[in-house]
Symmetry: D2
Subunit: 164 residues, 4 copies
């Protein structure tokens, strides 16, 4: 299977900087490395853009993501994204790109702090892309992968929940 990962930052990637005493969104793919290392049946193309907490993303950043998706040759794409504005970016992608299988994912807790939730959300996307699915824009969080309009962040609970 060929999959393009577009890593845009967000909590998924955050790492603690002991000098500054705070969590930072790095410009690398270190949070993905350990997961990818165990994916012996996938050829990944890795693209790193934006590298922001999604609260700080602007329209320009979202255009960069749209262009990155349009430029890939692969039609199977996973986008790592912050959880706070993933609904905005995924809605834009749904409108702009109709001929690919795009799965947004991310995490409520950084991979560097808890390996389970981040690995789960990302790996669900891989399993979903293994199936014979239709072109579309999806979100993979907390147990399921569904159309991006249907999985919504509940800010009180810190959970993405299906909204019927």
């Amino acid at each position: 299977m060929n999959v393009t990962i577009i890593n845009t930052g967000g909590t998924f990637n955050k790492r603690y900087n002991p000098i500054k005493g705070q969590l930072e969104v790095p410009k690398d793919n270190k949070a993905l490395e350990k997961i990818i290392a165990a994916c012996h049946n996938v050829d990944f193309e890795l693209i790193n853009v934006v590298s922001k907490d999604s609260l700080e993303m602007n329209d320009e950043d979202r255009q960069i993501i749209v262009q990155s998706v349009k430029n890939t040759k692969n039609d199977k794409i996973i986008i790592i994204h912050g959880t706070d504005t993933v609904h905005l970016t995924s809605a834009l992608l749904k409108e702009e790109v109709k001929n690919k299988k795009i799965v947004f994912t991310g995490a409520m807790v950084p991979m560097s702090i808890d390996e389970v939730e981040a690995t789960m959300n990302f790996s669900q996307a891989l399993g979903f892309l293994s199936a014979n699915i239709q072109n579309g824009t999806y979100i993979s969080m907390h147990g399921v992968v569904v159309d991006c309009s249907k999985l919504v962040k509940n800010r009180e609970l810190g959970q993405f929940l299906i909204q019927e």
Copy 2:
């Protein structure tokens, strides 16, 4: 989404017993607990049978697994299984049960030692079951979910690889 997990043991579940100084297959679902806790959109039914290293499974054990699958009301089933004889049990299930979506999974390294590989293999199964897939018997390991006849353990590399 409603999913039945049939936990039959295997490396996925192994835990270190400091008194005996060795890894054991416990009769509980502790290895699954942390993953399941983050699956806010899935109702799980958890069934524990056999609880063996798959090298020690016999025909009787496999019949117990077949019966467990037949008895579930859910048609989406994940079976945690040892990696050494998963090809035998999955081939049997493929013959015996035609009306469900069954995904075998497991791990080369215990969840208690490495949370990434085990979480990945299990979560791929969840993502695959989120898609509109056909009834069948599948294996979810190392990046992909495919028909159970196509993903084979390479014992030298310690990897499940697609065999065309």
Copy 3:
């Protein structure tokens, strides 16, 4: 061995709050629990005061710590403290309390993110208190336990280094 732990907060204790998306100093001893659980030969008295990032500690907070030390019956005391102002609090204790064995410790990376550095700094203090040492105020960080005036935080490197 009888040891009083006075937990005043600091990076050692910080935990990620997924709802707020940031690290917090909790008012509990969760960061200590897993270490203490393996200390089968120590009777601990656990005291929780201040619970602050040490940059935010004021003179009143330091008086609370001094009083807590004076009030303990045990003469072996470990104080968990933030790294940024541990030199101030330990210098005060050195002046105010002459009849006990006080070991300050902490961590550059939260126990919830990296279990090794925090466990190391704390456990060095236990080993030091096991020896027949003189009353005094010490710091336990990064491999050694010495008089509190001699181990200084290098803010560029993020390391406590012996200053001769």
Copy 4:
């Protein structure tokens, strides 16, 4: 501080081999690396001998350890050792070497499975060696560092406990 570490194997070092499906005592110091990396105030000399589960150690192995200790220039020595026969090797060292500070340590659970207990036992030894202690042979386990004759493995509990 200058410290010689003599790594003789034991549970402390064990790692899971996914190909063989079992824990092995490797001939390297990987279990120590992460701890040592945070010890900014210690110059370590690292010596690797024997590399066995201590149940399999024989008299010849113990002579190798005695010779290694006699050959070191440092008088502060930490010996990583399996827990099952550490009482035999430490008793021998106590007789054979009178002019050094020797601290035996190890773990009930491999560092590769649980970083807390192994890091704790090792780091207690560092803290103890930081104090002005007398020459002797000691054991550092589960909260304390005492003369090697006084800390005994309770095989039912899987704990080293002080025996008065």
